[in-house]
């Protein structure tokens, strides 16, 4: 069945609300307005204002309320409009939600799910367009996932709710309208493994969230040039699935990480470091990365496009790595 990413996410939420009375949604504009990306449209009428709660514009307050509810036995799903705004709630997430299990010696858990949109491409300018997944992937105590496919959009929420400790779900804003085939694989979605989306022999492209589709497109284009790229959808940003990455790199001997975050201090840097640590002697070329330019993401369309990792940049990086760079015009 072909559905959109938005529909898959919506089905997942609907299913969770219908199954478990402890589950409720909370966030800005998720009720009357139906969610800024229309994921929870109609939910208010169906489930009522106790379970679909519009909140004041204070991320600090409503994430904190979510933590309290989770500690009290509920299974809150908190939506934050974009990762940029989540910085207002960083103290609650990093200093409270992520720490309770550790600081209480396992006596208290915070079974909180936080959903947030991330990424650029919709001309929403710098304050709505950044990719700060790596900030969260840095923090022990959090599980961080980035569903890229409709299967994962549909499937990851279940295990996230079942997780006793906080889970952050990053939904790339450009994916909501993307269509995909929903397969039975969604039922076995986990919060621990990366997945090879396209097998290849010459270079491994490692991507997640919004860049997965650019990597797949790049792989298609590279195939035309005789380069078979393997594409890994990382899926889970913390904890990282090293085994899948290393297994692939040991076969292809080359790796390019595609990360919509800024290069310096990026998650791409972490993945590259792990490849150096674990697979250096299998590498046939320095590991490369395609990241966003180190500027606040611009508003102007052509500049926004220029700032982001694009298929053409991935293709160029792969060709150069294989010594098959196209002559520059």
């Amino acid at each position: 069945m072909t559905i959109t990413y938005r529909e898959a996410m919506r089905e997942a939420l609907h299913d969770a609300l219908a199954r478990d009375p402890r589950v409720f949604l909370m966030g800005e504009d998720i009720g009357k307005y139906g969610g800024s990306y229309a994921v929870s449209k109609g939910f208010l009428d169906e489930f009522g204002p106790d379970r679909i709660r519009d909140t004041p514009l204070s991320e600090l307050a409503f994430v904190g309320a979510g933590i309290g509810a989770a500690l009290g036995g509920m299974r809150p799903i908190v939506e934050i409009m974009t990762v940029n705004f989540s910085l207002l709630a960083l103290d609650q997430i990093v200093n409270t939600a992520a720490l309770y299990s550790h600081m209480s010696g396992g006596q208290f858990h915070v079974p909180l799910v936080i959903r947030m949109a991330t990424g650029a491409g919709r001309q929403l300018a710098a304050q709505h367009s950044h990719s700060l997944e790596n900030w969260y992937a840095h923090v022990p105590g959090l599980t961080v996932v980035a569903p890229a496919t409709v299967d994962d959009a549909r499937g990851m929420l279940g295990p996230a709710l079942a997780n006793p400790d906080p889970v952050v779900i990053f939904e790339h804003a450009m994916l909501y309208n993307a269509e995909g085939e929903l397969t039975d694989a969604w039922r076995s979605a986990d919060l621990s493994s990366a997945r090879v989306l396209r097998p290849g022999t010459d270079v491994t492209l490692i991507a997640w969230g919004g860049t997965v589709w650019k990597a797949l497109e790049a792989a298609k284009s590279l195939a035309g040039a005789g380069i078979e790229a393997e594409v890994i959808d990382l899926r889970v940003l913390r904890p990282l699935d090293d085994a899948t990455v290393m297994d692939s790199v040991r076969r292809t001997h080359r790796a390019i990480v595609v990360d919509e975050g800024w290069r310096s201090g990026s998650l791409a840097a972490e993945i590259m470091a792990r490849i150096m640590e674990q697979a250096l002697y299998d590498l046939d070329a320095p590991v490369a990365r395609v990241c966003s330019e180190e500027v606040p993401i611009p508003y102007a369309k052509h500049m926004e496009e220029a700032a982001l990792p694009q298929t053409s940049k991935i293709v160029a990086a792969a060709r150069q790595m294989l010594g098959k760079a196209e002559a520059s015009a």
Binding site: H253, L280, Y281, D282, L283, D284, A285, P286, Q320, M321, G323
Partner: protein, 396 residues
């Protein structure tokens, strides 16, 4: 363009100081000419060149000290013009300039002028995987052309180089060098001890003759195969002679993989392995031995055969010598030698008899075993050859 590098002039030499240039730009040089005098820690040495060419530029000044491998002069190859060389130089310079602004090269004792443009400190760009691959295949990276990004050597380049057959001259020279390096290392690092014993072969000879009777020539087994089999079986009781000395410790071999020293017609020698000799029947072993010798002489050995041996067996009986005092092939820890099998006076039951006798010798690494055990090994070898019948079969 020829990049003439300061060659290593001895195992202990890692740098040299220029005393004198014997050439100047414009000179024509021939293979074997002395081009410079270089002072090493031990003495002044005449440095020869191994290619014909015309001197383009000298990159080393008097009294300058540089590490081995530094390019000290550039020469034009026969038929090459200075324009050619300029173009190539430009290409190298551009490749260097195209490098990302890397951290400054670690300060080296080399003046910048003589640092090759291919990388800091003259280290070539070789991918880690290619380096491992070259080592596995026994490929000299200096002979591999890099086609990867910025001219780096890739796995594919190593494989291409491995597929190319070097010319006989190069090969003979390379082999001499390789043997020299391995044997120098052996004598430098391995505290050898040597033992030898005479082994009467009356029974073994008779048994073998009877066994070969009525068989076609190609079906017959040679005493050499009997020796190999008995060495492999004896090793089972003396694992400390079968394996490698690595990183300061002995590592037992995974099986009795016997390196068989084979001299090549064009000179030189190789010792490819027959795997698990202890578990082969004599017929199978003979078949493998025949095949191995043929392929060794045709130079079509597999790389695994070149690296698998856990001990070496050398048989110099055909050359008429009585005793072999072998040099262990590192990282192995022992070498078994067989001399000429000859009819000698031998005392049996109080009578002097004329019997075929061979002198078997053992060179072993004192870090891995002692002479007492070595002696017991030779005794076991002797014992096995006195009752040769069980050598025929593949043991359970």
């Amino acid at each position: 363009m020829i990049e003439f590098k300061l060659p290593s002039l001895g195992a202990e030499m890692d740098e040299g100081t220029l005393v004198e240039w014997k050439i100047k730009p414009g000179d024509t040089v021939h293979k074997g000419d002395v081009v410079a005098v270089v002072d090493t820690s031990k003495s002044a040495i005449d440095v020869e060149i191994w290619q014909d060419g015309m001197v383009l530029e000298l990159l080393l000044e008097l009294h300058q000290t540089v590490p081995v491998g530094t390019v000290i002069a550039r020469l034009l190859e026969p038929g090459e013009t200075p324009e050619h060389a300029d173009a190539e130089k430009r290409r190298i310079a551009e490749a260097a300039a195209a490098k990302p602004p890397a951290a400054p090269a670690p300060s080296a004792p080399t003046p910048t002028k003589v640092v090759p443009a291919t990388g800091s400190e003259g280290r070539r760009r070789v991918s880690p995987a290619a380096r491992v691959h070259a080592q596995t295949l026994g490929i000299d990276l200096a002979r591999v052309t890099g086609t990867g990004p910025q001219g780096a050597v890739t796995i594919e380049d190593v494989e291409r180089a491995a597929a190319q057959k070097p010319s006989a001259d190069d090969r003979a020279l390379a082999m001499r060098t390789a043997i020299g390096a391995a044997m120098a290392r052996s004598k430098r690092e391995i505290p050898h001890y040597y033992l030898a014993t005479d082994i009467p072969l009356e029974r073994a000879t008779r048994w073998l003759a009877k066994r070969n009777q009525g068989r076609a020539v190609t079906e017959r087994a040679l005493m050499a195969a009997v020796f190999l089999k008995s060495v492999a079986l004896a090793l089972r009781k003396f694992p400390e002679l079968n394996g490698y000395y690595r990183d300061g410790g002995f590592v037992a071999g995974s099986g009795t993989h016997l390196g068989v020293a084979i001299s090549l017609r064009q000179g030189g020698l190789i010792a490819p392995a027959i795997r698990d000799v202890g578990s082969l029947s004599l017929d199978e072993l003979m078949k493998r031995l025949t095949d191995l010798v043929a392929r060794a002489r045709a130079l079509t050995l597999k790389s695994s055969e070149m690296t698998d041996a856990t001990i070496t067996v050398t048989n110099l009986g055909d050359q008429g010598v009585e005793v072999v005092h072998g040099v262990i092939y590192p990282p192995q820890v022992a070498l078994v030698g067989f001399g000429k099998m000859s009819v000698r006076p031998w005392v049996r039951d109080g009578n002097v008899m004329a019997e075929p006798v061979v002198t078997a010798s053992l060179s072993a690494d004192h870090r891995a075993s002692d002479g007492h055990r070595g002696a017991l090994f030779l005794n076991e070898l002797n014992r096995l050859l006195q009752e040769p019948e069980p050598l025929d079969e593949a043991p359970k």
